[in-house]
């Protein structure tokens, strides 16, 4: 049993220096606190505890105070004093709600989680950058509430207050803010504080805020199309291959006329000189036409294809025109988090 206890202590000690290293000795100006950390690093828990408590009685900055409580939490955790450990972590969380324990043993992490559940804070409030057309996008907001509470999220700018969300919740919260006024209009440009207020059952109250800069811009219009990608107009005429079709047609027409004349001549002979001259002329015309390059003919399929293409292009451009009308009336919203949050 003793062996197990020592193993736990050693495990905590091995993990703790890394955690305290994050505190950064350089950032700690208070000499007592620095000595306390050094004592902890040397596994001199009594010395670390005494110096830590002494440092808390001295003048410390808020981060130093949070680190002092963190140190005490680790010392109590390493010396198996859970209540004191949790109490120290609780103080640390209230001072610095966003603080995460760096690499620590499972047992100390457990104490830390227990401490979290005993206080009401809003942690890790994050507002992501976003850019969207008003009404078609949102600003992602996320945070964690450590205890069940009525949580109200607002955007505040000067006298303008916009309620984003109000709910009773605990744990991770993800919100989508469309950056619109209750009337549906996009929020005016300016600097906004995204405030999260959590009110617990015991009327405990905690708030966190992040600053964002909201700017408005025009929405880019879409250029009209002169061609549909992947589709090209086809030639509307085509030269058919050379053939003897003209001569054949000339034969057909000549034969029809000659046969008609012969069939109708009856008792009177038809001296066919004049008829023959024209018939021969027709045949010669057909023969010469057969030897010449054929005249370009309308390519019906291509004409239909081009017509459909033009209709499609016209329809698409009409859609673009309608879309551009809407785009000219739309507002591009750009949200950028800026420094200066707070709890």
């Amino acid at each position: 049993m003793r062996l197990c206890l020592w193993a736990l202590v050693l495990g905590s000690v091995v993990a703790a220096p890394a955690a305290l290293a994050q505190a950064g000795p350089a950032e700690i100006q208070n000499a007592t606190l620095r000595r306390a950390i050094r004592a902890y690093d040397n596994v001199d828990f009594n010395q670390a505890l005494a110096l830590g408590r002494q440092a808390l009685r001295e003048r410390l900055t808020a981060p130093e105070r949070a680190r002092a409580y963190e140190l005490l939490g680790f010392v109590h955790g390493a010396t198996s004093q859970p209540d004191s450990c949790i109490a120290a972590f609780r103080e640390m969380i209230l001072l610095d709600p966003d603080r995460e324990l760096p690499r620590a043993s499972g047992r100390i992490n457990g104490y830390f989680q227990a401490a979290l559940s005993q206080v009401l804070v809003v942690r890790q409030l994050q507002v992501d950058s976003a850019e969207f057309v008003a009404g078609q996008g949102y600003v992602p907001i996320r945070f964690t509430v450590t205890s069940s509470a009525r949580v109200r999220t607002r955007a505040v700018s000067g006298t303008t207050t916009i309620l984003i969300d109000s709910t009773i919740t605990v744990g991770q919260v993800n919100l989508r803010w469309p950056a619109q006024l209750p009337s549906g209009e996009p929020v005016p440009a300016g600097r906004y504080a995204i405030q999260v207020e959590a009110r617990g059952a015991g009327q405990s109250l905690f708030g966190a805020a992040r600053q964002v800069e909201i700017t408005q811009g025009v929405v880019d219009t879409v250029a009209h199309l002169t061609a549909l990608p992947g589709y090209e107009y086809l030639p509307e005429t085509e030269i058919p291959p050379q053939s003897w079709r003209p001569l054949g047609l000339a034969f057909l027409y000549t034969g029809a006329a000659t046969a008609g004349a012969l069939a109708l001549q009856g008792s009177l002979d038809a001296r066919g000189g004049a008829l023959a001259v024209v018939a021969v002329g027709t045949l010669v015309t057909g023969f010469v036409a057969s030897l010449r390059q054929p005249a370009p003919q309308p390519a019906e399929a291509n004409i239909l294809y081009n017509q459909l293409l033009r209709e499609q292009l016209s329809r698409r451009n009409a859609e673009i025109q309608r879309e551009n009308v809407a785009r000219r009336q739309a507002v591009q919203i750009r949200v950028v988090p800026v420094g200066g949050g707070g709890s």
Binding site: A250, Y253, L268, R271, A274, V278, A279, A289, R292
Partner: protein, 216 residues
């Protein structure tokens, strides 16, 4: 004046054809052929010159031609020569590609009709006309017209009267100028009824024309 006309003609034949649905064609032609009436013994050789004009717009076309003809006695029963003027008019509407329905009239006025050398004849045309492109600026056409309500200066009727025509054109000078040829076989199965005895006195004329036309 002559120089102006020559320049106009030159310009008309050198400019490319406009791509339009309307077309106006005028032309002149020399004619030759054969005319027979009643029997093969009453026959004449025919020669002459004529002019034509044609206007086409969309599916409709109108065409007129006038030909001055000289009939030279050729058969044993033909006693002397005479002259005539033949006028043909056509109005046609395109039915389907290449085939039109055609209506019009034909009128051949003989200058010596009262000497019983030959008959003046007139009739209404009703029939079909087919034209086909044989290639670039070349084409052929054929027509079959029923000659309805035929009237003759010597009287009589022709229950069956037909006009069969064949023609071609070959375009040169960007299609502005056309060499043209046209034949016309005209047959009237004319009958007369002198003294109550019915008698066949058919009239048959074949004319061929060669000439040129300008497309405006």
């Amino acid at each position: 004046m002559r120089a102006g006309l020559a320049l106009l003609g030159l310009a008309a034949t050198t400019l490319p054809l406009p791509l339009t649905a309307q077309r106006f064609v005028i032309g002149v032609a020399g004619a030759g052929g054969d005319y027979r009436e009643v029997s093969n013994d009453l026959r004449y050789r025919v020669s002459g010159v004529g002019a034509m004009a044609m206007f086409a717009a969309g599916r409709v076309a109108a065409e007129v031609s006038a030909t001055g003809l000289t009939y030279t006695a050729d058969g044993p029963n033909a006693t002397r020569d005479f002259k005539a003027v033949q006028f043909d008019g056509y109005l046609r509407v395109l039915l389907v590609r290449g085939v039109s329905v055609e209506a019009g009239l034909t009128n051949r006025q003989v200058d010596a009709e009262f000497e019983y050398l030959a008959q003046s004849a007139a009739a209404v045309r009703l029939g079909l006309y087919s034209a086909v492109d044989l290639g670039r600026d070349a084409g052929a056409q054929v027509r079959v017209n029923y000659l309805a309500g035929a009237r003759f200066s010597g009287g009589g009727t022709a229950p069956l009267a037909v006009d069969v025509g064949l023609g071609f054109y070959y375009g040169v000078a960007n299609g502005r100028l056309r060499l043209t040829g046209e034949s016309q076989f005209q047959r009237f199965n004319r009958t007369i009824d002198p003294g109550g005895v019915k008698r066949d006195v058919p009239i048959q004329q074949i004319i061929g024309k060669l000439g040129f036309a300008v497309v405006l």
